[in-house]
Structure formats: C-alpha cells, structure tokens
Symmetry: C2
Subunit: 318 residues, 2 copies
Amino acid sequence: MDRVVIGVDLGGTNTRTALVARSGDILEKQKEETLAAEGHEKVIAKLIRNIDRQRANADQYGRRVAAVGVGAPGVIHEQTGVVVKSPNFPDWNDLPLKQILERELKLPVFIENDANAAALGEQWRGAAKDIRSMIFLTLGTGVGGGIILDGRIWHGADGMAGEVGHMTIIPDGRTCGCGNRGCLEMYASSRGIVMTFKAMCAGKHLDTEGRKEITSAQIYQAARNGDTVAHLVMKDMGRHLGIGIANLINIFNPEMVVIGGGVKAAWDLFIDATREEVRKRAFAYTAERTKIVPSMLGDEAGMVGAAAVAFQKIAKLS
Amino acid sequence: MDRVVIGVDLGGTNTRTALVARSGDILEKQKEETLAAEGHEKVIAKLIRNIDRQRANADQYGRRVAAVGVGAPGVIHEQTGVVVKSPNFPDWNDLPLKQILERELKLPVFIENDANAAALGEQWRGAAKDIRSMIFLTLGTGVGGGIILDGRIWHGADGMAGEVGHMTIIPDGRTCGCGNRGCLEMYASSRGIVMTFKAMCAGKHLDTEGRKEITSAQIYQAARNGDTVAHLVMKDMGRHLGIGIANLINIFNPEMVVIGGGVKAAWDLFIDATREEVRKRAFAYTAERTKIVPSMLGDEAGMVGAAAVAFQKIAKLS
C-alpha cells in the first residue's frame, strides 16, 4: 500500500492539515480555526482529532499514513520536536509537541519551524522547484525566514537560524518586540506598513479619520485607488525590504529569494522599489542573477512543506 | 611516501607559501613580497618559482607534494579556478589561475577565495577546531568573510557568498567602493577606523596636525596612551561591528564568530563594545551561546586553509 503523510500547518489563526502523496500531490485538505487562546491542551486535542479523521480518510484512497509533519510558529528545537517559545501560543513554553503527538497518534511525528516548512514546500512543489539555494521570506504580521542551502534547510547550531526578520536595517529605528531596534520586521511586515502609514499621515488622512485602526489591506486598497500617501508607504516598505534582501544576496549568493505571507498580496505595490534597492546595494553580478519571486503555494506552502519534512525524515529512518 | 601539499596565501602585499602535512603541521614556510603592480605575468612566474623550490625541499622531508591550494583575494570562481576580479590585482580579470598553474606545475591546483581559505584554516587548526558552523570575519583594509556550515565553506550559487563586509548597516551611511552606502566595511575596517577618526576630530587632534595621513595603528596606540577621542573611535567601530555580527547570529545561529585581519591587533579596544551591541540586538539565547573569538593562526590562516582546501579536494578525487 502506497505510503502518504499528513502535513500540518499550525498557525496562530488557522490550522491546516493535508494528506500528501509522495509526489507532493494533496489528496485532501482541511482548515480549522486554531483558537490558540483556549490553551495548548485544547489546541492539541483538536489537532489530534483532525489528524485521526484524515488518517481514517486515507483508507479511501488505498493509502496508509506513515508519518506526520508539523510546521509550528516560534522557536522550535527541531531535533527533539520541542516548541521552546511561540509568540502565537503564549502558554507554549518548552512544550514537547513531538512526544505528545507521537504518544497519542502512534506515528512518527516531526516538528519544524513554520517558515522553514513553507520554504521547503516552495522548493518541493512551488516557486523554487529545482532550486538548490533559496531564501524564503514570509511577510505577515511579522517577518519570518527559511534558508535552503544545497537543497536542505539550514537550521543553525540550535535550530534557531533564519531569523532574517530580525536583521537590523535601521540601527536607531523602531523598537521591535525582540528587544532590538530597526529590525526588518518593523518595516516590511503588515504591522510595519501600518506604522509607516501612521507616521506619514499622523492620523489625518483617508478613511482613518474617526477610526481607531487602519489595516494593511486598506492601505493596499487605497494605494490601488490612487492614494499618494498609501503609495509612498508601500514604496517605503519596498525599499526597506530591498535593504534586507540585498544583505542576504551579498551574504548567501543564493539562486532565488521567494516572498510569501499576507503582504505578498501587495506585490505590485512594493516589488519595483525592492528591486531598485537591491540593484543599488548588492553586488551587481549576484544581484542580477538572483531571482526575486512571489511564493506559489500561498496558504498551502506550510502544510506541503511539513509533509516534505516528514517524507525526508522517514526516508532517513528506513 | 607520505603526501604533503603546498598552501599559498596570495595577498596584495605578501605571498606566503608553506609545505603542509596531512596533520596540518607546517613543515616549512616562506614569505615574499607580491609586487602586484608588476602585473600578473611576473607575479605568477615568481609564484611558480617559489612553489617549485618548496616542492624540491619536500624531498628533504621524505615527502611528495600532491597538490597546491591557493587562497587569492577577490571574486574567485572556485569550481573553475578563475580569478574573476580582484581589487588587489587590477590587471587580473577572468584570469584562469588554476589552468595556468596546473600547466606549469603538472600538479592539481585549487583556487579559493582568501577569506574562505582563512576560515577553513581556523576551523582546521585554529580558533574554531571541532566547530561545525562558524562565521569568519577578516578586518583589514576591507572586511572579508568566510562562512563555514556543517564543516564546509558555503560558496553560494556562483562562489560569491560571504560578502559580509558589504552588508548594509547604515542605510544612508558612507559610500563604499562597491557602490553601496553604509557597508559594514566602511566602519569596521582599518580604513573605516581612520575615516571615523577624521570625522570625529576634523583633523584638529593629536599628532595629525600638520600631517596628511594618520594610520589605524597610530589610532590604536593613541587609545592605549589614554587618548579619549581615539578610544571613542574604537568603541564606535566596535558597535558597528556588533550590528553586523548580531545580524549574522540571527541569520545563521552559528557556534562561533572568529575575527581575524590586521584590526584584530586592536581587539581589547573594540571587543567590549561589540559584545554589548550583540547582546542588545541578537536573540538572547543565540547571542549568549555564540562564542566571539580572535583568530589564532594570524598570518598563517590563509596558507594553512589553502592547504586544507587542497587536501579536501584530492581526497574527493582519489
């Protein structure tokens, strides 16, 4: 019987699970709210139910589930499968997620950082197919990163590599949640975009008047409707992203940089400024040869990549 | 007969060559002025004479030279052994150094970027022994870098990785020779130190009065003699270096950062400021676990590392 795996993208908002064939094809998928605030016990219990349901469904396809791969946000100790710390799950501290899931599921389980998983997904089935060296940037509420070198994730000495969102690009810049100032994340994330907007118009602009909050999506919309300030905000974001990417190009000389995450929706509004900044800052040869492309798998990158992790690991075990 | 290799550090000022045993022990070494300005034909002819002489000497030790490794500055296409461009050798453009040397020497020759070679030297026999992931920074006239991941040099897609000296750390900062602004090199190199000194005292200070130039060595000396401005200059350099190292720690999560090059002579004058900046900026766990240490091999790192390259390559061939 052909073996399949279950790939899980355990996000702060939604949890996605998929039955994935060795080819990378998704046989079926489901999505459910994570409800992280309910605490880790409830979140994990629900995850186990979802996996069990999908495992039962595998029979329909004449397949057997051989392993589970989970992409989770935060600091993951990849070798032990412990979630050390996770900004989206405040009560997850040194949580032995691999151990808990393996005990309940009686299946091999592998935990990977979510950005790393998404990077691997893009390399397996998405924008970076057949690419051996690639930097994946996920621009969402924060900025995450996954580094693929020689076809494999670079985890670092402790599984904590790839924090490209916390590269300093403005030494005296905005204070970041990580304690540093001027992190890339403070300028190239959706949160950073909103901050730049507020700084540029000091509340006196657009439909922000009388409102408490404006969202990044509203800023993209305003820019598309011809609003000058919103346009400048997105160019500013693009330039800051370009500084970070130029650094990564000079450091890694990668074949490709893939950009995913929610902010990818504004691709057309920032990418020209990003490319211009990269041209200005990175070495000409490496800058020209490095493709900067949007992610292709979108919301599916995480679970497909988590499945790739599971396939890679069981191949090593057998 | 036990095989040895010849390791060459082809510098802009001096060329060092050594007979190196498989253990990493240097059997004998020599140093000669490179005289780069005389043009590539003379430089290469002299290099061949030196290698031939050392090869003849190998007989005295009852050894046979099996290969030559050369560390050279600039952009090296490592797989073909072509020097694409070298700031220290203005007339070296797309020079097929490997091919020329192999034809003359009738020996396998391997060319590596000098900073990469030095990194490998430190990992083989120096400060980073038994370390698997390490970033090597060489602070000289410029700032070079070598990245060791999983025990091997990360060359990048085109052999051009490791340009950590051209990471932007001050977006609107000093214009660098590479065309970018605010490169780490413009603040953490000996040239950068002199620039900072000049900017801080605008020529009206110390023994600079009436002089055209002050050297970085004079600035270190002044700081050690209690000069306040010189001290501030070195702290400023240390802080800038710290920004760059914090970025590298967040990106790579390496075990170690090794600092070599001429500026290492001022270690005590900058390292506290560097460490403080790293603590402020990098993730606490990774920052604390990453050892930041001075290189141990000094001037010998390049030729020892070039020998390591040669040994690694012939091991693969046989």
